[in-house]
């Protein structure tokens, strides 16, 4: 079992949800965050003065998936979250040791 963490634009959330449904993944948890990438935000110019806006709103998506579909999930997110403009975000895959489902009190996966 792996944890996939994706940091995406809020406006791509719907698309990502749909893409994941297509590969059979519905379970997920999302939260509002703020992020910046390598360019540390974007720069606005206003009447000659420059202002750097660094932490821009982002959505963090967390999905726990079986090892065998990690690749499919990552690909689905990349395709759906892509715009090609700076700020598209990142996806990370983390190892998971164990997992439980509270309603059934059962251990999941591996």
């Amino acid at each position: 079992m792996k944890k996939v963490e994706a940091y995406i634009r809020a406006e791509r959330l719907e698309a990502v949800k749909k893409a994941l449904e297509k590969v059979g993944v519905t379970g997920m948890t999302v939260c509002e965050a703020r992020g910046r990438g390598e360019e540390s935000g974007i720069e606005l110019e206003y009447r000659g003065k420059k202002v750097r806006v660094d932490l821009l709103p982002r959505i963090k998506v967390e999905i726990f998936v079986e090892d065998d579909i990690v690749e499919r999930v990552v690909k689905a997110i990349i395709e759906a979250a892509y715009t090609g403009k700076p700020g598209d975000g990142r996806i990370f895959v983390l190892p998971v040791v164990e997992a439980y489902k509270i309603r059934t009190k059962e251990k999941l996966g591996k």
Binding site: A10, V30, I59
Partner: protein, 415 residues
């Protein structure tokens, strides 16, 4: 037809605006108190109450309350259906335009219905609520208004028993006692919210509630001083005592919770202010500012105790229309019988040596309380058995905003 007094009209125009604003005051006060997932619904119910009252009052509500007397004092007649005869001129016995008088009274009906949204909080079907409100305005509000303000049953019974006409300057009985005790009845029919008593429900937006209270405080000047129906010393005094009672109510509640809980909350002070305003409502045409300090404080303390009892009782009358409007309205109505001063409103109370007024107030109060409880219970039951008054558990869990209105109060994950 009397002739229109333009100064009285000027003040009544402004007062009506203030009283209509109070409906939104109730909406925001209540909305801030519920959980985020029900914030929209709590405003929507008041807006629905306002809209339904706006049309119902023109068609049938006003005439049932204020036109003549029918069925041995049970209600008005139907001569003013569609507000016939209430136009640009002043009706017999009034010095303001009939249309304006009807609008002012209609705003009272709307405020009362809005107060009564409390027990529906976080669990009622919007359709069920709407139908209940229409029926309630017609079968309870208009009737009680007729009984107290238009020489109807409550007045007749009290006069027969005590030889004195009960007084209710701006609706301590008609508005607050009636809505408060009706709220209790509805709460019994609807039952408590899912999870009630097991966990604490936190108010989702206290500044929003404070805004509601702000509108109520200022709007109440229209409510009470507007009820003088003239721009006179009586109106001026009514405004003053209203303000003083609100202040003293806020202080009384604040001190009580400071003493008993170690800290005075803002919601407590605002509740105290509202209880003070409620308590002074029936008295505002009859007492002086020193009396108002006492009435405001006693009203607030009575509500404080009622609320404490209500919380322990397990009855989920969620936003405390009963504890605040019902109990303080009752308290104020009785205290009017105690403090009324001949020199202000032409009626003497207990302190000036006249016990009959207090007796008359008591009789009228009992009549209003009993009728409100029974009639509201039956109406709520009838709606529940037919259309259903309560949403399904999943709908309640998701919140009424999504399940009843397909809206969320605050945007999430915006782009």
């Amino acid at each position: 037809m009397g002739s229109v007094d333009p100064s009285a009209t000027a003040w009544l125009l402004a007062s009506t605006a203030l009283v209509v604003a109070m409906v939104f005051g109730v909406a925001f006060f209540y909305s801030g108190l519920v959980r985020r997932k029900n914030a929209v619904n709590m405003i929507a119910t008041s807006v629905m109450a306002l809209s339904v009252a706006g049309v119902q009052w023109v068609l049938v509500g006003f005439t049932l309350a204020f036109s003549g007397d029918a069925l041995w004092g049970f209600s008005g007649d139907l001569k003013a259906l569609g507000l016939r005869g209430y136009g640009l001129e002043a009706p017999e016995g009034l010095s303001v335009p009939g249309a304006l008088y009807a609008a002012f009274q209609g705003a009272f009906a709307a405020v009362t219905a809005a107060i009564l949204t409390s027990p529906f909080a976080e669990r009622a079907s919007f359709l069920g609520f709407t139908v209940f409100t229409l029926a309630w305005l017609t079968l309870v509000y208009s009737i009680v208004a007729h009984w107290v303000w238009a020489g109807g049953l409550a007045d007749k019974v009290a006069y027969a028993l005590t030889g004195e006409h009960p007084v209710d300057f701006a609706g301590g009985l008609v508005v607050h006692t009636a809505s408060g005790f009706s709220a209790l009845a509805v709460a019994l029919v609807l039952g408590p919210r899912e999870g009630y008593g097991m966990r604490q429900f936190q108010p989702h937006n206290i500044p929003l509630s404070a805004l509601g209270a702000a509108i109520l405080w200022a709007g109440w000047f229209g409510f009470n001083a507007g009820s003088a129906l003239e721009a006179s010393g009586l109106a001026g005094n009514a405004l003053l005592v209203t303000h003083v009672a609100a202040s003293s109510g806020a202080l009384a509640w604040g001190v009580a919770s400071w003493v008993f809980n170690g800290r005075p909350g803002l919601l407590g002070m605002l509740s105290g202010a509202i209880a003070g305003l409620v308590a002074i409502t029936p008295a505002s045409g009859y007492v002086n500012p020193l009396d108002a300090i006492v009435i405001g404080a006693l009203g607030a303390l009575a509500s404080y105790l009622a609320l404490s009892w209500r919380l322990r009782s397990g009855v989920d009358e969620s936003l405390d229309a009963w504890a605040i409007h019902g109990v303080a309205g009752l308290t104020g109505s009785l205290l009017t019988g105690v403090f009324a001063r001949q020199g202000i409103g032409g009626v003497a109370g207990l302190l000036e040596g006249n016990p009959s007024l207090l007796a008359a107030q008591l009789v009228a109060a009992v009549v209003v309380v009993v009728y409100s409880l029974i009639a509201s219970y039956l109406i709520a039951l009838a709606v529940d058995k037919t259309l259903g008054l309560r949403v399904k558990p999943e709908e309640e869990m998701v919140g009424l905003d999504i399940s009843q209105h397909a809206e969320e109060a605050y945007g999430w994950a915006e782009a």
